[in-house]
Amino acid sequence: MSLMLTKEDLAKYPFLKQSAAYIESMQLNLGDLAAEEYSGILSKALMRIRDSIDRKIRPVDLSDPESEIISYPLSLALVYGSKSNWLLNRFASIEAKRVEEELRKEPGDRILEIAKFGFSWEIERVDLKLEYEELPFSIPLQSYLEAATNFNDAHWKLINRYVKGGSVFLNSGSLARLISEGFKSKIIRRASEREMHNFRIPDTLAPHMDEILRYAQENMQFDEELPQGLVSDARPPCIVAIMEDVKAGKSLSHMARFALTTFMVNVGESVDEVLKLFGNVADFDEGKARYQIEHIAGMIGSRTKYKPPKCDVLRSFGLCVGMDQFCKKAKHPLNYYRTKLKILGGSGGQTGARDRKKGV
């Protein structure tokens, strides 16, 4: 180990192996943490969660690294115990953002070490010098893809990276971002592991749990709901194109069908309306189609409501046709729709002008 990790480091980077080891060495029991003597830690943990709900990135408090270190697993336990996906995602992204900000202040060699101790990524120092650009690190292709596929910006696409001999070459800013994303995925993935399904928060912490859930509930309501029913003028070009194919009687690829159906269901169209859309398609089988749509709408089967694929996915399947001003900013067709709805509403005052009757 070429690097001495201080307590401050463990506080800043909770995903380090050493952080976990440190906590273990304290032999604390989750239920005990509600006791008076740990009230400082508990309030820190609660603040961490509340910060994430407020989307607030608070720098690590280095005056008391110890309670900072312990507050992390406690807050994580509360988040897992809440069984709220919304809270889980918020918490994971804000924790990740904080880590990213800390990492950006570190020199290259430290970032490298932190990546090594945090994940099993085999990052290497390569110091590749290109014209007007330096790429000091390389990361194995698979590790890169593990983390980077969560990003939507063009510069994260593999094709826009320097890829050679099975490695992806990066500068330190990109590496910092990858690490923080790796951290985020780790938090989220852990939640779906089997042992987590049965995880319950100890009774002593229950009142705090309630308080968190209440606070989350209040804030969740701000996450906007879409109006019911399709507003034709706000449709993204990809959806317009698929609808035109439908009109022309083309038999749709599985992906096109899935994109259209999920889109319609998510803008609040009923199963019957969506079915009507497909009426003209050559290989149409109503019984089967109804089943699929109900499945996608989350009415049957796994009961999760499916979302349309993101722009990136549609692009790979050749379904992205547009690059209008909204597309340039959108990463997701629903995003496009939402933005355009707002603008339509703002200028024409016609939000919610539904046109079910016009069909497609």
Partner: protein, 407 residues
């Protein structure tokens, strides 16, 4: 389907050795079968060794035989979520149907089911007469399309898998699919655990999707002062640089005019030598021509990379739970074998000869309609409405294609 086909398939399978049914890591694969005339795939089968797979196949003589690209803990589980996914090979599927070759004018036809308009060659997106997209196609393959597919395979491997992805020559296998093209199975650990999203990035990479050359070092420092990558650079960075160099080097004035404005094309054409010298120099210099901007480079770049991007069926690559044809199984729509190709001698590989499974005997058939067809060394057609005696392989091929009937 005709009993004779089933009988011949059965004979073929009985004659194979157990080792011919070998699939890497069999106990962790799902197997699936489609029977002659059947519409429902028989799925979720597990075989512990090649001998038991052979036994099943000889007994049931399916028309199509598949195994999963994925490895599962419990391949026989019927619920996909219960299978326990352990990873999957990375697969590339090259299908000559998706490649625009000139030979398609000779052997392919399409027809609009709405208005009845017909034509030859690669089918249009929508009917030129009525605009509907209800296009029926009747496609064939020939040496030329299969040769084009082979070129794609070589491109994927030599241009991308080996230099960029670091795949070694022992980490993949190439198969002739038994009909229209080739499959590449990459088995290295690097790709095994990739999610669908990760596989999509790989597919996009070889298909040139989402490429932004500004992210590969091309930059306008000042007006018309353009810097960019070195041809020696790795990945797409060097690839784009080399592609532009090659393109401009070979381009006629007309070619350039198709990519950029006439004025820019002219100045580029007249100053070609200097332009190419600048790219070769260290550091390379990409500008210096009047009216030649970053946008011009982008346009030239997209014209230059056309031959470098790979024509694959991306759905197959993206899917981490795909079913693919078993080695040495017969393709029910051609009667040809799915055959492993030795990559070191792929140039000489003649699929229409080497994948022939029925090497002896003849059969009397009635041919409804067929273009010129070659199987093995036998050529036939174009012909229509004819009864004749042909070698067994050719006869079965036409019957499997639905163009002939036994007589």
């Amino acid at each position: 389907m005709h009993e004779i086909v089933r009988k011949e398939f059965s004979k073929y399978y009985s004659g194979l050795g157990a080792e011919d049914f070998q699939v890497p890591d069999m106990p962790h694969r799902e197997f699936a079968f489609l029977q002659f005339g059947g519409e429902v795939m028989i799925r979720h089968m597990k075989f512990l060794d090649p001998a038991s797979l052979k036994e099943y196949i000889v007994e049931n003589t399916p028309a199509h035989i598949y195994h999963s690209s994925a490895y599962y803990e419990t391949p026989e589980a019927t619920d996909m979520n219960e299978k326990g996914w352990l990873g999957a090979d990375l697969v590339f599927d090259v299908d000559s149907d998706h490649i625009r070759t000139e030979c398609k004018e000779r052997h392919d036809r399409w027809r609009c089911t709405e208005c009845g308009m017909e034509g030859a060659g690669f089918p249009p997106e929508s009917c030129p007469r009525c605009g509907m997209k209800k296009i029926d196609t009747r496609t064939w393959i020939c040496e030329d399309c299969l040769e084009a597919a082979k070129k794609e395979v070589i491109k994927i491997i030599d241009e991308y898998l080996v230099p960029d992805f670091g795949v070694s020559y022992s980490d993949f296998e190439v198969y002739f699919s038994g009909h229209r093209g080739y499959h590449i199975h990459v088995r290295s650990q690097t790709f095994r655990m990739l999610s669908g999203d990760g596989r999509r990035e790989i597919a996009d990479y070889v298909r040139g999707i989402g490429l932004d050359i500004k992210l590969h070092g091309f930059r306008e420092v000042k007006n018309e002062l353009l810097v960019g990558p070195d041809m020696k650079d790795g990945g797409w960075r060097g690839r784009v640089a080399r592609a532009i160099y090659e393109f401009v080097n070979r381009a006629s004035l007309e070619d350039l005019k198709k990519a950029v404005s006439p004025a820019v094309a002219k100045s580029l054409f007249e100053n070609k030598d200097k332009f190419l010298k600048n790219i070769e120099s260290d550091p390379p210099y990409w500008g210096g021509l009047k009216g030649y901007t970053l946008e011009s480079i982008e346009k030239i770049a997209s014209a230059s990379i056309k031959d470098l991007i790979c024509n694959i069926d991306e759905r197959v690559t993206i899917d981490s739970k795909r079913l693919i044809r078993c080695p040495n199984s017969l393709h029910g729509k051609s009667g040809l074998r799915t055959l492993r190709v030795d990559y070191s001698s792929i140039d000489d590989f003649d699929p229409l000869k080497e994948a022939v499974a029925f090497r002896h005997g003849s059969i009397r058939i009635y041919v409804k309609e067929a273009p010129r067809v070659r199987i093995g060394d036998e050529e036939l057609g174009p012909l229509k409405d004819k009864t004749l005696e042909v070698p067994l392989a050719l006869g079965l091929y036409l019957i499997c294609r639905g163009a002939a009937e036994p007589r």
